[in-house]
Amino acid sequence: MLKLLVALVAVIAASSAARSARAGDAIAISVRDRLLNLDVHDVDGRAFIPMTRVVEAFGAKLEAVGDDALSVCVEDDVCSIVRTDGTDDRIAGNGDARLVALSAVPELFRAHFDWSDAEDAIALAPGADPAAARIGKGDPMPDVTLPDMDGSPVALSDYRGKRVIMYTWASW
């Protein structure tokens, strides 16, 4: 039984190692025109990066909320809450060694992934991902771009500064 358990642990460890091929490398991410080289840590096969460096780069505020939560505020009234009691899979570690999941950075810091030609690196641009976010009344609209009847793209930003009414209909 012990041999079986050891073998099982070995298989799980091997599987984890295979999933973390990039752990230990540094990822270059441009935030606000500043290029950060962030150490990548493997946590359960997912890529995590140092949270304090991301907080600094965004000029965000990190404050304790009770004993087991933190607020992450990118502006005074734009905050997210993360739990620090081990139940929140977006963060890992503690204190200055706290890590944030790379995949959770856009959500927590109200940004979206883009590409910086200047830095030739992944960039984190402010605002929600135009392709993914669900918005509510009063939220900024992303720059939705749709083709017209002839296939030419029309962007909402083409109507910047004007009131826009979009009437949706269908042939069905």
């Binding site: 509510g136 500064g161 009414i165 069905w172």
Partner: protein, 206 residues
């Protein structure tokens, strides 16, 4: 809002002699963004680029005509990444770091699709689905891709998976009806009685 593209909508646009821009949202981007599950809708966006809800057409006219002395400046930022090469490049790099992230693969698939790279889009959708992507928009957009490639049965099957996740979504449901029963929609008008009966049949079956 037509998964089959502009041509089925064109006769209505021509009859209306519309002077405003007519846009084709084949991927249901607005539906996923705002959350509506049926059409028609009238969507308001103010001068500052903020979504101000959905209202009746008459309310929209009054809203458009209302004077505003405190019009805020627009906050809509032109996005180079929305459908462009920058977004694809970023997602490809992220895919290398997050190879098991279904959302990254789904976003990559959508970006390839928007860029007209159907083969790469299909591969990325398959990876996303294999990794557990199960949201209605991913199934819907994959269905739209397959339909655009002329693979109607596979496309409708993907739309059906989208509908299974979001059964109250009539933007999806009615497009499946239109694809499977074009004679009820495009041969001299829409058969509303058939739609009502079909809705009752599907409700009874569930």
């Amino acid at each position: 809002m037509d998964v089959q593209g502009a041509e089925l909508a064109r006769p209505y646009v021509e009859i209306a002699k519309a002077e405003y821009a007519n846009l084709v949202d084949a991927e249901n981007i607005l539906g996923h963004l705002i959350g509506f599950k049926a059409v028609p809708n009238t969507i308001l966006i103010d001068e500052a680029g903020r979504y101000q809800g959905m209202v009746s057409p008459d309310e929209a006219k009054a809203w458009a005509a209302a004077e505003r002395s405190d019009a805020p400046s627009s906050s809509i930022q032109a996005s180079s990444s929305a459908n462009g090469a920058g977004r694809i490049r970023a997602l490809e790099a992220l895919s290398d770091w997050l190879p098991r992230d279904a959302d990254v693969q789904a976003d990559l698939a959508e970006s390839y699709q928007a860029a007209g790279r159907a083969e790469a889009a299909e591969a990325a959708y398959r990876r996303a689905l294999m990794l557990g992507a199960s949201d209605a928009p991913t199934h819907f957009r994959y269905g739209r891709l397959l339909l655009s490639l002329g693979r109607k049965d596979e496309g409708v099957a993907s739309l059906r998976r989208a509908l299974a996740v979001d059964p109250g979504n009539y933007v999806i449901r009615k497009q499946i009806w239109a694809l499977e029963n074009p004679g009820r929609f495009y041969d001299g008008g829409i058969d509303w009685d058939w739609q009502k009966e079909q809705s009752q049949r599907e409700a009874a079956a569930n």
